[in-house]
Amino acid sequence: MMELISGLPEDVARGCLIRVSYQQFSTVASVCRLWKSEIHAPEFHRQRRSTKYAQKLITIVQARGEPGTGSTKRVTNPVYRLSVFEPETGHWTELPPPPEFYSGLPMFCQLVSVGYDLVLLGGLDPSSWRASNSVFVYNFLSAKWRRAADMPGGPRTFFACASDSEGTVFVAGGHDNEKNALRSALAYDVNSDRWVSLPDMAAERDECKGVFRRGRFIAVGGYPTETQGRFGTSAEAFDPATWRWVEVKEDFLDCATCPRTFVNGGDDEAVFLCSGGDLISLRGDTWQKMATVPREIRNVAYVGALGGTLVLIGSSGYGEVHVAFGLDLESCNWRKLESPEGFRGHVQTGCVLEI
């Protein structure tokens, strides 16, 4: 039996591979059959996470090029790319886009992470502005993009999506080409590249937010076709075990606001939302203010939860640079996370990865 690294016992050799940065996964997988099978084994990922060597990343859809400050605001459509930020090391890098999006990622696309895969869904084509149901998956082990099966049903944008981190991506709501709010929902299995329909939601939800929490996919907020732009406060949860939407909570949010900054802090943690310049958290049934959002990120574009920290990316105003701040959930201390030139553009959306 061939050893992973000659002279070292298997677990020690595995320990070395586990410490390799995610950016070299594809290199390691190209060395020899043994290393390839080692890195592809689920055990590898598990051990990386349990020994805390998994790297926590935030992938965001970000505009390239500095936004104008003051009066020189850009009129042309910015080009969006994928930026990868590692808060623990402060390292920013770029992820190559799929070849189809060479000239820029679609506007309003969604990002979801499932294990080693990053799923990019939907969006509007940057030049034609037509809604697309395309799905692309980037695998960090092979460092390659593949085009996955399109979302079935009609065109759908501004939908909620979340993954259960086990291989399924849930999609719900959004609107179609006639701006009718949708109540339909779908689920995608990454491994088999198949979409299935879920039962419809109780309410139509356009521009809702999806999270996966405590075993259930929750669609939060949004608005129906009749009341365009007037966000609701209800939320409903889908239970994959029973394959039903359960528990519609009418006043889940205590204020009618866009739920895009709603985030699940963790199954044992609270959920958070940015509202009116504050970061509020829900424990039990009541929303409480946790902290005041710093002025530099007053317009919060994205909130990500990484263990005991929340990372917020936003700007101080329209057209301004986007910066990132980290909030320690225990101490409620804000810390500015530096970003280099070229990584300060407008942020559309993002997702958290632990690989």
């Binding site: 002279g7 070299q24 594809s26 092979s142």
Partner: protein, 482 residues
């Protein structure tokens, strides 16, 4: 001053001494030494020491802090040793797999959990005859390294308060030590990891594993195979992009695309091999021409140019044939290069994008009348670049020859500027493109050499474009088909 202090009654001195910080560092150290040597004052010395160090810490005097700390350490260990007579200083006897026995200070040896366990459970190691046998993975040289590590990292069992104040300092020292410590060749690092693991020395295993991980990160798969003697048993298809994809270097991105393109192109070439057979010998000859040009003087240039013109005409005829075939992307390696360059993002001036390319790009900068415009390349955005299949279809002999020639060529390119200019002005960019692309396919060994080639090519294109823009209109009528 020291004599004065030496003669002082230390007890009296401490009793009336002002706060520690008002002393000069030298004086404090001397006083400390004296106190510590006087064993009965040990506890008092320790509290004095703590107080002084606390003041130093709070007043942020790292150097003084360090000096005093070292002094304390030294003094205290001296005290500890002095209590137990020097002859009775504890040593542990260790035996390595080759039979040699050595004695090691107790506290250093006990830092290794395995040795600690042996001593406590079996009582071995107290004398030469009862030396502890170390696991076979620990040879004497490695043992030496491990003991150095232990000696540095083991914490003297004294006042924790002092350690607390100085924890930051210790951390930094340890880091520096560790960084220097692991600077050794990979083989030795593996041995060290193995030995540390057998002695259950977790912190050292962690350190060395991290170092090995860093080594792995810095290498290509081939280099990794060489370093760790691993077999090359993956098929070409299973091997993934050798270049690190996630990088913001635009040149690497360009090279990635060239590589992917090349693989696809080779695959297609395989399909059209029958059609292409007569093309290939021509290519080789052009290569030789090119190289002979580089070697030759101006006189030759004219000669080879004439040759090339003939070839150009022949090629145009062939390309007329090619163009009539439907798929613009098929078979023409020639057409690859402009697209690649076009895709080379930031490397090109914006004017470049407006120019159309001809597949028979052979214009010479010095002969604008010969220039042709380039018809629009049908670049479909849906084109799959990052392709999974890697087909190396070149037969090894040709491949080797091309390798050699490219290396040669690359060397020349990197040498004299006049030569480079000649090469570019001759617009053998097509050949260059082919060379670059082929070179990529044979394993990226000369990545260093190839980068400059690409830059020159691009530079060459810029020159060509700049010159051709002026004559673009004139040449519109000369679209391929001639």
């Amino acid at each position: 001053m020291e004599e004065v202090v030496a003669r002082l009654n230390i007890t009296w001195f401490i009793a009336i001494a002002p706060p520690a910080l008002s002393f000069s560092t030298g004086l404090v150290e001397t006083v400390l030494m004296r106190m510590l040597l006087d064993l009965s004052l040990e506890s008092r010395a320790i509290s004095f020491c703590e107080e002084y160090l606390k003041c130093l810490y709070l007043s942020c005097k790292p150097k003084a802090l360090k000096n005093t700390y070292n002094l304390c350490l030294f003094s205290m260990s001296e005290v500890a040793m002095a209590v137990v007579k020097p002859e009775m200083k504890s040593y542990i006897w260790l035996q390595t797999v080759d039979g040699s026995i050595q004695q090691v200070e107790e506290e250093v040896a006990m830092f290794c959990p395995m040795i600690c366990q042996e001593v406590l459970q079996t009582g071995m190691g107290s004398s030469k005859t009862y030396a502890i046998s170390l696991p076979h993975r620990v040879n004497p040289a490695i043992l030496g390294l491990i003991l150095d590590y232990c000696r540095f990292h083991q914490v003297p069992g004294h006042s924790n308060k002092i350690n607390e104040y100085l924890s930051v300092l210790r951390l930094k020292e340890r880091k520096t030590f560790d960084e220097k410590f692991i600077r050794m060749d990979t083989k030795k690092l593996c041995e060290l990891t193995s030995a540390a693991d057998s002695l259950q020395l977790k912190p050292l295993v962690d350190l060395t594993s991290r170092a090995l991980a860093r080594i792995i990160e810095g290498k290509t798969p081939e280099e990794i195979r060489e370093t760790f003697h691993l077999p090359d048993d993956l098929t070409e298809e299973e091997k993934l992009e050798p270049l690190r994809n996630i990088t913001d270097d635009p040149r690497i991105r360009l090279l990635n695309r060239l590589y992917a393109r090349k693989r696809k192109e080779l695959k297609e070439r395989k399909k059209l091999k029958d059609v292409e057979i007569e093309e290939e010998p021509k290519d080789e000859r052009s290569l030789e021409d090119l190289l002979s040009f580089i070697n030759g003087a101006d006189g030759d240039m004219k000669g080879t140019r004439a040759n090339k013109n003939k070839k150009k005409n022949r090629r145009r005829k062939d390309q007329a044939k090619d163009l009539s075939s439907k798929n613009a992307n098929e078979n023409n390696k020639v057409r690859l290069l402009p697209q690649h360059i076009r895709l080379g993002l930031n490397l090109l001036p914006s004017a470049f994008h407006n120019v159309n390319f001809d597949n028979s790009l052979e214009a010479s900068a010095s002969k604008p009348s010969r220039m042709q415009t380039f018809p629009t390349v049908n670049f479909s955005p849906k084109f799959e670049f990052i392709d999974g299949d890697v087909d190396d279809d070149l037969d090894p002999a040709m491949k080797e020859e091309l390798d050699r020639e490219v290396e040669d060529f690359a060397r020349r390119l990197n040498s004299d500027w006049p030569e480079r200019m000649q090469i570019l002005s001759l617009s053998q960019d097509r050949r260059l493109g082919l060379l670059v692309v082929l070179r990529y396919d044979s394993g990226l060994r000369a990545k260093q050499a190839v980068m400059p080639i690409i830059e020159r090519v691009i530079y060459g294109y810029r020159l060509l474009i700049r010159d051709s823009e002026a004559v673009a209109d004139n040449s519109t009528s000369k679209v391929s088909g001639s």
